[in-house]
């Protein structure tokens, strides 16, 4: 932590980088979260394949929805343990007292979560392609901005609501309860963009614009309001 506080007195982005590096390093060493999330994602893909066993034509229509629901569950599992380590070691109190801006902490957490969930998605995608015999009829490269924007939409709000749920009873259920309603426009956009690209029938452009708007609006809102949430005791 002394490394972060030295950096904090110089450049705020240094704190973000330092916190992010610390989180990634800790995770890489223990591989706690990533292992459980990996296995969970595999289970989700397999269960979905049993429940919905469409032929190639139908699967293109519904795969968008299925894939994003699966990613959503994986994201919630990842987000639930976002602040667990901090809580265990009273790190949050240290952050409140330090001169580091609250935003840096938030950004670091959100970016860390983004990386975790992105890794999960990269690992789950080939499985989905295999089980559902997927092939994109539209411009496949567009899936990358859709995935990136969509994941960020879930992660940025999820990290914020995870912090909000810290001091609640039934913390683990509180997070999805808060996250899902607010994420509905983003989910709609993600699913429809993916379906549009897979079926090649419609343009995903509007959805990508909507996702970008959503991301910008809520990233700004989270950054502005996180300080309040961090100080809520």
């Amino acid at each position: 932590m002394s490394e972060s506080s030295n950096v904090a007195s110089r450049v705020p982005s240094g704190v973000t980088g330092a916190t992010l590096a610390k989180d990634l390093r800790l995770e890489w060493r223990s591989k706690d979260a990533i292992n459980s999330m990996l296995f969970f994602s595999l289970l989700v893909v397999v269960v979905f394949s049993f429940s919905f066993d469409p032929n190639a034509e139908e699967s293109r229509q519904i795969a968008g929805g299925l894939v994003w629901v699966a990613f959503l569950f994986a994201a919630v599992v990842a987000l639930n343990q976002t602040w667990a380590r901090e809580l265990r070691n009273q790190v949050l109190d240290a952050y409140r007292v330090s001169p580091a801006p609250a935003n840096s902490l938030f950004l670091a957490k959100a970016l860390g979560n983004f990386i975790f969930v992105a890794v999960l998605e990269i690992l789950m995608t080939p499985l989905f392609i295999m089980f559902y015999k997927l092939r994109a009829l539209g411009p496949a490269w567009q899936l990358i901005p859709v995935a990136a924007l969509g994941t960020w939409a879930l992660v940025v709000n999820g990290t914020f609501f995870a912090a909000m749920s810290l001091r609640t009873r039934s913390r683990e259920i509180m997070l999805p309860l808060l996250l899902f309603p607010v994420s509905i426009p983003a989910l709609l956009a993600m699913v429809n963009a993916t379906t549009a690209i897979l079926t090649g029938e419609l343009s995903a452009r509007f959805w990508i614009v909507l996702l970008t708007t959503y991301d910008v609006v809520f990233t700004v809102a989270c950054l502005l309001l996180f300080e309040l949430v961090l100080n809520a005791e």
């Binding site: 609640t168 009873r169 808060l178 509905i184 509007f206 809520a232």
Partner: protein
């Protein structure tokens, strides 16, 4: 003030009965839909009331977040004034207007928004603003539930389906979900700063609703479906009955909010006293 309550209650009961009579008997029967269309006189006023209550919650949440910081407070004041002025100007300058909208109603809406903001600011202290936020959220959810129940009951006999993902229905459902999550946060949060967290959630919800509306609108443009309860002009006699019912439900909502508000203030006083007593106790009830 307290003595007014029973009088107001009686007045509301009379209004509601009168409005019911108007809706069931006086209003002309609709041509295509028949008598079922009369659900409209309960469904629409409930929706407008729910949206008004949620808007009050939004104003209270903003105020709670902003009034603790004088600089932010000033910025917020000026923003509200600007919004009101901009709405008034836009009402008379922007052409053509969306169907069914009159310049006077748009300008009035802008002025009402500013009026509500400053009225609440004047008559409610910061803590009481938070109480008002809880009240308007709860009563808003009740009215929104009515909307979501009467909607499908109207849709089923008329259009043959219980539900469809059109703009208005979906936005209303999402708004309902957001405020249920707001109430759950209020109930389950053990933080001392629950009002702040809840206010932040309300702001998120308010940012979300236009996005929901817009996203469903795109979705519907790409996947056209029958429009439920379409717009267009309305028979003046029906409009009259609609407005009477709205007035009656507004009075009822005010009555319920007033009761709930008194209950909330009482509960807070009791909790404060209980906390003080626990502190004062010599041995302490650990």
């Amino acid at each position: 003030m307290k003595k007014l309550f029973p009088i107001f209650g009686l007045l509301t009961a009379v209004l509601l009965s009168f409005a019911l009579y108007e809706a069931l008997v006086v209003a002309p029967t609709e041509q295509t839909m028949g008598n079922v269309q009369r659900i409209f006189y309960y469904h629409v006023p409930s929706a407008w009331t729910a949206f008004l209550l949620f808007f009050i919650n939004f104003v209270c949440s903003i105020q709670y977040l902003v009034r603790r910081n004088p600089a932010a407070d000033k910025v917020a004041n000026w923003t509200v004034i600007l919004i009101a002025i901009a709405t008034c100007i836009a009402a008379f300058v922007v052409r053509p207007l969306a169907e069914g909208m009159e310049p006077s109603s748009i300008a009035t809406t802008g002025i009402i928004i500013a009026g509500l903001y400053f009225l609440i600011k004047k008559y409610f202290s910061v803590e009481r603003t938070d109480a008002l936020a809880v009240v308007s959220a709860e009563v808003g959810v009740v009215f929104c539930t009515v909307v979501l129940v009467t909607g499908p009951l109207w849709a089923r006999p008329v259009w043959g389906i219980w539900w469809t993902w059109d703009v208005r229905l979906t936005s209303t459902l999402v708004l309902w979900l957001i405020y249920i999550s707001y109430l759950m946060l209020r109930r389950f949060s053990t933080s001392g700063q629950t009002p702040v967290l809840a206010a932040a959630l309300a702001v998120f919800g308010a940012l979300d609703v236009p996005l929901v509306y817009f996203s469903i609108w795109i979705f519907r443009t790409q996947h056209p479906q029958p429009v439920i309860g379409g717009g267009g002009s309305i028979d003046p006699k029906m409009l009259q009955v609609l407005l009477i019912n709205w007035l009656a439900f507004l009075a009822f909502a005010a009555l319920v909010c007033w009761s709930r508000y008194r209950l909330e203030i009482l509960q807070r006083k009791v909790e404060e006293t209980q906390a003080l007593q626990a502190l004062e106790e010599p041995g302490g009830s650990r």
